[in-house]
Symmetry: C2
Subunit: 162 residues, 2 copies
Amino acid sequence: MGIVNVAQTVSSVTPLSIDGLWFRELSVIPTHGGPVMHMLREDNPWFERFGEIYFSEVLPGAVKAWKRHRCQKQNFAVPCGQLAFVIYDDRANSPSAGLMERLVLGRPDAYKLLHIPAMVWYGFSCVSATPAILANCADIPHSPDEADKIPANSSRIPYEWQ
Amino acid sequence: MGIVNVAQTVSSVTPLSIDGLWFRELSVIPTHGGPVMHMLREDNPWFERFGEIYFSEVLPGAVKAWKRHRCQKQNFAVPCGQLAFVIYDDRANSPSAGLMERLVLGRPDAYKLLHIPAMVWYGFSCVSATPAILANCADIPHSPDEADKIPANSSRIPYEWQ
C-alpha cells in the first residue's frame, strides 16, 4: 500500500497511481461579482456520457466513507469549501491493487475534475472551516443496486479518518 | 408588465407566467455529515440533453445581469447560498411578452430546478450573507456567439437591481 501526495499545479490530465483514476485542472474565469467555474462539457474529449448531476454537502469535519460503485464512474468537482478524498484499490486483477491515493479538491486553489473508475473504494471529508459542496456528474444515474457501502472505520481499508 | 411572487411549496412542475419558464422542487436527502441534493438525471422525463455543467459564484450583494441566450436553455439550481432571479420576456411573438418574474432559489428552503427558455432576459443577485453558487446544467455547451448581454442598469428592462 502506498500513499501518494499529488502536486496541485498541472495544466492537463494527470493520471494517478491507481489504474483509471485521474484528475485535471478546471478553468476558473474571473468575472465581476464572482468567478465562473467550468466542470464538464459534452464536447470535452474526456466526456463519456451524462447520467446524473447531484450535490453532496459535507459539514466541517464530517466524513462520508466508504463507497464503491460497480458500474458508475464519478466525475467530482468541489465548487465550495474543501474536501480531502481517499481512494483505495482492492480490485483483484488491477495493476494498482493495494494502492491508495489522497488528494484535496476545492476552492480557491484546488478546483479540479477528479475521475474515479468503477470498483474502487472512495471516501471524503470536509477539511474547510465552512461546509463543502461535492458536485458529481456521473456517467449513469444513481442506483442503489450497483453501490456498495462499508463503515468509515472498516478494517478492510487501511486508512484512519481523522 | 407584471411581477409574480412564486409560492415556495409545490411538489411537481410549476409553470410560471412567462411562456416556457418553469421550476420544480428538488429532493434534499438528509444524510449523516450533510444532505445529498438532486439536480438532474438523464431518465427524468423533463431532461432534454446534456450540453454543459458549470458554476457561477456570486458574492453577497453582487448582481450578474442581463443575459439572454438565442439557443441555449438553462437548468439552474443553487446548492449554496441564495440567489434572487429576475426573468423578463420581450419576445415579440410571445404570449407572455412584457411579463417579468422574480423568484429566489437556494438553501435551505428553496432548493429547486429553474428552467429558463431561450430568448428571454435573465439576471440574478446574491441575497445571502455568504457567497452563493449557481449550478447550470445547460442543454448545449456555452458559446459566446449565441449569447447577448446588456448592462444591469439598461433602460430596456423595467427593473432596478438593488
